[in-house]
C-alpha cells in the first residue's frame, strides 16, 4: 500500500541551522557523519543541512536489507558496500548529489516525518525546475501505485513511494529516514547521470540531455529549504565533538564487517 499520509507545514522557525558545504568522503565516513549529526541534533535541537558526494562508487544497503540480496544486481557487485541506518532499498552512489537534513522533532512524535519528505523534495523539485527539469512527486504523476513486488525490488530507484521525485517517468530522487527520540535524520540521493554500475537508471542530466551544475543547484536547494522549513541555514562546519563521534562511529560501525553482514 502506498503511503499517502502527509502532514501540514513542517516549519521549525524562525530558527538558525547549520549548513555543511558540499564535500566528498568515503562511504563509511559519509554514513558516520550523518549519524554523528543525528546524535548532535538529538542533544542540541539545532538543525543541520549537509551536501556530499562519494569518493568511490558505493552500494548502500537499506538498514533491514540482507547482504545476500546483492546477488540480484550483478552490475554493482564489484563496488564497495556500506549498510545505512535508514530504511528503503539499495542505492548505487556514483553520479549523484546526496543531501542530509536533520531536524529536531517533539518528544513522543511517532512514525516517519512524511512532511519532511514532502517539503525537502518540493525544495529540490523547485530548484530543478530552474534548470528545465519538471520533477513531480510520484503521488502526482497519475501513475498506478506500484505492486508489492515492485516495491520489494533490490534497488531503491526501481521502487516507488509517494514522495519520490519523478522526471519523464523515471525516479531521480529518493530519501529515507532514521529517527531518534527527539530528532530525525533524512538523507537522499539525487541522480545526476547514469552510473556504469546501475546502467538501467538514468539521472537528471541524461533526461535533460545536458549537464546539471551542482555548484549552482545546491544554493537554490538551500534557499528553498530555508523558506519551507523556516530555517536560516548559516554556513558552518562539523563541531569537534561531531568529528570525534563520527570517527568512532566509522570505526565501530560502518567500517565493521559485522555491521555490513549483520543481515
Amino acid at each position: 500500500m502506498m503511503n499517502t499520509r502527509r502532514g501540514s507545514a513542517a516549519s521549525l522557525g524562525p530558527i538558525v541551522g547549520r549548513l555543511i558545504s558540499l564535500a566528498t568522503a568515503g562511504a563509511a565516513e559519509n554514513m558516520a557523519i550523518d549519524q554523528a549529526i543525528l546524535d548532535s541534533v538529538t542533544r542540541t535541537g539545532v538543525p543541520v543541512l549537509r551536501f556530499y558526494q562519494w569518493a568511490e562508487p558505493t552500494l548502500s544497503l537499506g538498514y533491514f536489507q540482507e547482504l545476500a540480496a546483492r546477488a540480484a544486481h550483478v552490475q554493482s557487485d564489484s563496488i564497495c558496500c556500506v549498510r545505512r541506518t535508514t530504511g528503503g532499498g539499495a542505492i548505487v552512489h556514483d553520479q549523484e548529489l546526496t543531501y542530509s537534513v536533520t531536524i529536531p522533532v517533539p518528544p513522543g512524535s511517532a512514525g516517519p516525518r512524511s512532511v519532511l519528505y514532502e517539503q525537502t523534495h518540493a525544495a529540490i523539485a523547485e530548484a530543478l525546475a530552474n534548470f528545465g527539469a519538471q520533477a513531480v512527486p510520484f503521488r502526482c504523476t497519475g501513475l498506478e501505485p506500484p505492486s508489492e513486488s515492485r516495491n520489494s525490488q533490490f534497488l531503491c530507484f526501481q521502487r516507488r513511494t509517494a514522495e519520490d521525485l519523478i522526471v519523464s517517468g523515471y525516479k531521480v530522487l529518493g530519501s529515507a529516514q532514521r529517527k531518534s527520540r527527539t530528532a530525525v535524520l533524512q538523507h537522499g540521493s539525487l541522480l545526476l547521470c547514469t552510473s556504469l554500475y546501475a546502467p538501467q537508471i538514468p539521472g537528471v542530466s541524461d533526461l535533460l540531455s545536458r549537464p546539471l551544475n551542482v555548484e549552482q543547484l545546491v544554493p537554490q536547494i538551500v534557499a528553498n529549504l530555508s523558506e519551507k522549513l523556516g530555517v536560516d541555514w548559516q554556513l558552518g562546519t562539523l563541531s569537534d565533538e561531531e568529528v570525534y563521534d563520527a570517527e568512532q562511529i566509522r570505526r565501530e560501525r560502518f567500517d565493521s564487517p559485522l555491521w555490513t553482514t549483520r543481515r
Partner: protein
C-alpha cells in the same frame, strides 16, 4: 478477548505495558499503541531483542521500518526479556487490527520498584495523542 487498552500504562514514546503477576513475579507485556501504529503506517520490518536481554526503562529494545523510516522501540520498564513474540515480524500486517493482543512484542520480568512511575495512564496518554494531532 483483547486487552482493555484503558487499563494499560503507556510510555511517551507510545509503547504500552500490561502489568501482571506470573508465577509470583511482576511481568510487563509490551506492545505498540494503536495510535503509534496508525502514525507509522505500513510497517515492513521489525527487529526484536534476544531472550534474556536486560533492559533499562527508556532503552531501545527493537526497531521498526515504515515508509523508509527506521524508528527505535523503547522499553517502558526495566527488567529481563522473558518472552519474545517471534512470529510478529512475519505478520506485521495483522498488527493494526489487534495491537493490544496479537500485537504484544516482548514480556519483561520487571526489576526495580520504581520503574513504572513515569508511565502515563490511559487518560494522560490519550491527551498526549490528541495534542500530537
Amino acid at each position: 478477548m483483547s486487552r482493555d487498552e484503558s487499563k494499560l500504562l503507556y510510555a511517551e514514546s507510545h509503547e504500552w505495558v500490561d502489568l501482571a503477576e506470573e508465577d509470583g513475579k511482576a511481568v510487563g507485556t509490551i506492545g505498540l499503541s494503536g495510535f503509534a501504529l496508525e502514525q507509522l503506517n505500513d510497517l515492513v520490518y521489525m527487529e526484536l531483542p534476544e531472550l534474556g536481554r536486560e533492559l533499562t526503562a527508556g532503552e531501545e529494545f527493537g526497531e521498526v521500518e515504515s515508509v523508509k523510516a527506521v524508528s527505535p522501540l523503547y522499553s517502558p520498564v526495566s527488567g529481563k526479556v522473558v518472552a519474545v513474540h517471534e512470529d510478529l515480524p512475519e505478520s506485521l500486517e495483522k498488527l493494526n487490527d489487534d495491537p493490544y493482543e496479537f500485537g504484544w512484542i516482548v514480556k519483561v520480568e520487571i526489576s526495580g520498584e520504581n520503574s513504572v512511575e513515569s508511565l502515563l495512564d490511559h487518560a494522560a496518554y490519550q491527551k498526549q495523542c490528541a495534542e500530537a494531532g
